[in-house]
């Protein structure tokens, strides 16, 4: 905290300016989404809910949305199932080459999406995996899992290993320790990590674009193609809904964090 109130005000001003620069371009779609159905203009000449009606009335948009939701749920679940044990091994385990394994597990964060996408595409063709939805789930798990590993690792580092030892000495078997000590203490990290993984998966375009098959358009892909072919103003409504969804998720993360006892 700066002691100088004037410097403090300046800092606050600067922070708000940056925030405005980052947020305003996204916010502009909100008023547009309440415009009419013919073209995307700002400011909208008249206000209506037509674009939202159009979105909710179009089976193709809804199908894309549900596909994205399903894929994101599966991706998140698989990421948790693989990522938490991996994080556990990385934090508590003692084995040679641990840092190398950690780097390998987190590498999808650093490798450009296009490279991962191309690799996955070639790989799926090679092994003959042709199920569109499964391809999306497996492909997107590659990028979401590292984020679950990162949050779970951070969470585990805050869990005193003596708590697990204490439970063990008291007679708790490994499952009791896991479900009554480790996981409850990891809850904030798990909730944060899964919301994050869900959003990442939901939002992912590049990899999804490469590996999806005809008939499996996720929401971002559908948005991308519709801006290429028609620039339909319904996009503004979809974007606004997505933004609302992200805000809700972020608020959820903050709220769950606050309710957890800090150790």
């Amino acid at each position: 905290m700066s002691a100088d109130p004037q410097a403090n005000r300046l800092l606050k001003g600067a922070a708000f300016a940056v925030l405005a620069f980052l947020v305003l371009p996204s916010l502009i779609v909100v008023p547009i989404s309440f415009g009419d159905t013919h073209e995307m203009v700002f400011p909208p000449p008249s206000l209506s809910l037509d674009l939202y009606r159009q979105y909710f009335g179009d089976p193709q948009w809804l199908a894309a949305t549900w596909l994205s939701v399903r894929v994101a749920i599966w991706t998140t679940l698989i990421s948790l199932l693989l990522g938490i044990p991996a994080a556990y091994g990385l934090v508590r385990g003692r084995f040679p080459g641990k840092r190398l394994v950690a780097m390998f597990l987190l590498s999808p964060i650093m490798v450009p999406s296009v490279v991962i996408a191309l690799g996955l595409y070639i790989y799926f063709v090679r092994i003959g995996l042709s199920h569109g939805e499964l391809r999306l789930v497996l492909g997107l798990t590659v990028v979401t899992m590292p984020f679950v590993i990162v949050t779970a690792t951070a969470g585990l580092q805050n869990v005193d290993p003596n708590l697990e030892k204490a439970a063990t000495v008291m007679g708790a078997g490994p499952f009791t320790v896991l479900f009554r000590v480790t996981l409850p203490l990891l809850k904030p990290a798990i909730v944060g990590g899964s919301l994050f993984a869900f959003l990442m998966s939901f939002d992912e375009v590049v990899i999804a674009w490469f590996i999806t098959r005809a008939g499996y358009e996720t929401l971002p892909i559908k948005m991308f193609s519709s801006i290429q072919w028609e620039i339909s103003p319904v996009l503004a409504a979809v974007s606004s809904l997505l933004m609302l969804f992200s805000v809700v998720v972020c608020v959820l993360v903050v709220v769950t964090r606050r309710n957890e006892p800090q150790q």
Binding site: N162, K165, A166, A167, M170, G171
Partner: protein, 352 residues
Amino acid sequence: MVKVQLNDVEKRYGPTVALAPTNLSVTEGEFLTLLGPSGSGKTTLLNIVSGMTEPTGGEVWIDGVDVTNVPSAKRGLGMVFQSYALMPHMTIFQNIAFPLQIRGLPREEIRRKVEDVLELVQLPHVAGRKPKELSGGQQQRIALARCIVYDPSIILMDEPLGALDKKLREQMQLEIKRLQVQLGITMLYVTHDQEEAMTMSDRIILMNNGSAEQIGTPNELYFQPNSSFVADFIGQSNLLDATVAGEDRVRLVNGEIITVRHDAPLSHGQSVKVLLRPEVLHLREIDAGGNRLDATIRGSVISGSTVKHFLELDGGTSVLVEELSNGTNAAPAPGDRVTISWSVGQARVLPA
């Protein structure tokens, strides 16, 4: 009855010997303390008993069963950690109920036992709180209660009071001792604080460099140390270099000859250490048959109940004399010549 028996247990980490082959037995209701400097292997020994460290040799027996290859969870032990290790996501009630739930006790019995044990540690009003809402001393008592409640065959404690301030630590020492005696708990306790060990223990194992230097009651360790390490670690001591000059006689480096007590036979010319506790020395001549040495006062300090005199023997060796202060102690000035004396038998010979 023997609760815990260690037969030649040892632990090596590569070339490092954390614990040299050690034999030990803890009897029922005994308070046994592992005392020693940092890195002497106390935690290693304790963790071998708890099952968290696997010994590289030897056997661990608990309640007459060889548990060397039995995992921690199945050894039926209790353990109190320095960091308390209370579950932060559980209330105090849930924390204490946890080991009982693991044992599958009925709900009603759990409630009764938890309430009883909270009464026992004099904290019946905190059942609904989270651990972080308690003070350090209270958390430590809850950690102990969580062990007591399921009646383990032995309770292990690794420096449980290390995080508390001096006053609270002394209070907790008495509290733990009271509960241990009252409930007949068998206790294996680790500390590097010799006063704490002396206050609480029935027996002390003094560890040095990964092996047990001496095992005995606090009294034995204090009055009959068998090495200068023990004499130096427990209490204050003057250790004088000397050579054997005859049957129970040794010659100090300044040529003076004194009479000593010894357990092992001495051979002429052997070099030894002579232990003189500061409180057995007097700044006057006490009886004609006793030992006496001439010395020069270098300084005196009054520390409440006692007065410490720092002296120099003729020949240059420093000696500490501690007397009870009664307000009338004649205060010798630095440079004064004095005679120190002690009853024969108070000077103990130790191997050099």
